[in-house]
């Protein structure tokens, strides 16, 4: 208040002076909230524990977070679990004793980190979970709704099958991954409403493009009149699409998939006709939402674990219509700039 009063006096004095020197009257007014905000962020550490670096999603989140938070003096540490659940759990455990201000965690499954994340929040660390939630709901969950992804992909396939054979195939991810199981639930939800659809094959390809191709080839040979395929990840469904293309059925078999919307992996492949629908959970937007949440949590000063909320991602269906637009996809190299 004292500061404000001084400013007022000064302003009054200046308004007198303004008679002779009008330019001086444009003196600024201090915004009282920005300094505490800056202080709340400066020097804080954000720890990032992805299931692995080096793929479009995790690299994109990291680049996006850095871009938003580093200018405020936030420090980043990465603990790359490199597809190893144990290594990830160890990383989270050691982070709890290192006490960063915020942990951004990408869970490999529902259970492994759940207890650890609860402990972290009890120790005063905000925990934000990304895309794959654990059984414990922390301060914030930012990510895709896998059930919705499954539903919307299947709706696309069912629509494309109208008046055709009604035979579809499902290419799942890894059986142990919750994202795969949730997506399958979404698929089942829609199929329950469409008894005319016949699932001729529903197999797991382990997120592996070569396996997805092998399965799809065999299924297409048995069912050349297949009208659609629901795939669970675009990185794997490159193989699915390659099998469809080789069978000369591009355009006849509707291929639906999902992913982070990276340009080469999503828009380019939709444009080439490999995919007909790619449900994108738009990684840069997710990163921006996480960054926003981190800013809010740090500046609010709320006790970690005392508020909990979710930010489910608004999905972008990428089809031929929008694959050319600048907004539908993103480039990792641009995000890193």
């Amino acid at each position: 208040m004292k500061h404000f009063g001084a400013t007022k006096t000064l302003a009054a004095a200046l308004s007198l002076a303004a008679m002779t020197a009008p330019a001086l009257a444009q003196q600024g007014l201090d915004e009282p909230f920005q300094k505490p905000f800056k202080d709340a962020l400066a020097g804080k550490t954000v720890a990032y524990v992805p299931v692995a670096m080096n793929f479009d999603l995790t690299e994109g989140w990291y680049a996006g977070l850095k871009k938003e938070l580093e200018p405020f003096g936030v420090k980043f540490v990465i603990r790359d679990a490199n597809w190893n659940t144990n290594a990830g759990a160890q990383a989270v455990t050691s982070l709890i004793s290192e006490k960063p201000a915020v942990m951004v965690v990408h869970n490999p499954d529902v259970q492994t980190y759940a207890k650890l994340l609860q402990r972290a929040e009890n120790e005063g660390i905000y925990v934000i979970q990304i895309n794959m939630g654990s059984a414990y709901r922390s301060s914030a969950f930012v990510g895709a709704n896998w059930v919705e992804i499954g539903e919307r992909q299947t709706e696309g396939v069912v629509k494309a099958c109208e008046g055709k054979s009604n035979k579809i195939a499902i290419i799942q991810g890894a059986l142990s991954a919750a994202a795969s199981a949730y997506t399958l639930k979404g698929v089942e939800n829609v199929l329950a409403k469409h008894p005319e659809i016949k699932v001729v094959s529903s197999q797991a390809a382990d997120w592996d493009a070569a396996k997805a191709k092998a399965i799809t080839q065999t299924v297409l040979k048995q069912n050349p009149d297949l009208c659609g395929i629901v795939g669970f990840w675009d990185g794997m469904d490159i193989g699915t699409a390659a099998a469809v293309k080789e069978a000369g059925l591009t355009g006849k078999v509707f291929v639906a998939t999902s992913g982070g919307g990276e340009r080469k992996g999503a828009c380019e492949l939709v444009k080439s006709g490999a995919f007909d629908l790619n449900m994108s959970y738009d990684v840069p937007t997710q990163a921006a939402q996480m960054a926003g949440t981190i800013k809010w949590l740090l500046s609010s000063g709320v006790k970690p674990g005392s508020v909990k909320g979710s930010e489910y991602t608004t999905l972008i269906p990428i089809t031929k219509e929008n694959a050319d637009s600048q907004m539908a996809c993103w480039n990792l190299s641009d995000l890193k700039k």
Binding site: D56, A214, Q217, T218
Partner: protein
């Protein structure tokens, strides 16, 4: 009394024949020319890798780093073309990297005398790590439009037969020629059968061991190029998968003993056919993933048990280094 003895190769061939017969009778759509081609096409990369592995296993070694040679140099080709280099330059770089890698493997095993299992375990990690840390931007390296035409290596067909089957056939012929028609091939068998005797007779065993690993790495790189062309990308994370076990399985199941000195290309082909038939049949039947693993395990166990039942091991038949 003369007992009829079968060796592993014949047993596995019998298993293959039985499976094939059962699937042909009971599985609609199995015994069609198209499905037969699909079956072969789906295991051709595995078969090529099996050939690469067979060369070192016959020479009484093992190459755990084979998947790194499959993933990293072809991944480098895709990445370099993506970054604007020309395709021939990228291929040349990848080939040089592969040869250098094979030389390191061979030197460690032949001259530094590190056991092949540990040497290749370490070098495989090294190469995969190098790829991840320094060469690739992302785990999955995408195909760039500038490589169009090159995908014919793994896609499309020649005379109605998918190209990847042709590639497997070519690799079979090259490896068979190397093993059976050249002096080097004979040396590999000699070293695998008894390395000490081979050295005493004047065979340059160390350079031959180095050669084995260089050829293996080159075939691995070739398999990787076929795979990348076939799925329009190189998922370099494949290094972390269980593919290496499948490769060893193909080799051992086909009847190439890990103790070295025995077997050949035919064994790899038989091993590949068994795996291919099982995978194809189970995919047509739409058996769940867990069920598939269970069946695979049971069939393999049966083959191995039958072998040790019919050909029991004792001091006379066991070789030094037998695993």
């Amino acid at each position: 009394m003369k007992r009829i003895r079968f060796n592993q190769q014949e047993i596995v061939f019998a298993v293959f024949a039985l499976l094939f017969l059962l699937f042909s009778i009971f599985l609609r759509g199995f015994l069609t020319p198209e499905n037969m081609l699909t079956l072969l096409q789906n295991v051709s990369v595995l078969g090529i890798l099996g050939l690469a592995m067979a060369i070192v296993v016959i020479g009484r070694g093992i190459d755990i780093s084979l998947i790194a040679a499959l993933a990293v140099p072809p991944g480098l080709v895709l990445q370099m073309v993506q970054n604007g280099h020309s395709l021939p330059a990228s291929l040349l770089t990848a080939a040089l990297l592969t040869i250098a890698f094979g030389l390191v493997n061979g030197w460690l095993i032949a001259y530094a005398e590190v056991p092949s299992l540990f040497a290749t375990l370490a070098t495989g990690l090294l190469l995969a790590g190098l790829g991840q840390a320094a060469l690739f931007q992302l785990d999955v390296v995408q195909w760039s439009p500038r490589m169009d035409g090159f995908e014919k290596l793994g896609q499309g067909s020649i005379l109605g037969i998918p190209t990847s089957i042709w590639m497997f056939a070519i690799a079979c012929i090259v490896v068979a020629f190397l093993l059976r028609r050249t002096r080097w091939g004979a040396y590999i068998y000699a070293i695998g059968d008894n390395p000490y005797a081979a050295r005493v007779t004047g065979i340059p065993s160390r350079p031959i061991i180095v050669l084995q690993y260089v050829i293996t790495a080159l075939i691995g790189c070739f398999a990787g190029l076929v795979m990348a062309a076939s799925v329009n990308s190189m998922p370099t994370r494949i290094f972390n998968s269980t593919l290496i076990y499948d490769v060893i399985l193909v080799v051992v199941l086909g009847g190439i003993g890990l103790s070295g000195g025995r077997g050949g290309v035919l064994n790899v082909v038989i091993g590949t056919l068994v795996i291919g038939t099982m995978l194809n049949g189970m995919t047509i039947m739409d058996i769940s993933y867990a069920g598939q693993n269970l069946i695979k395990g049971v069939v393999l166990l049966l083959a191995v048990i039958t072998d040790s039942f019919l050909n029991p091991r004792n001091e006379e038949t066991a070789q030094q280094g037998d695993i």
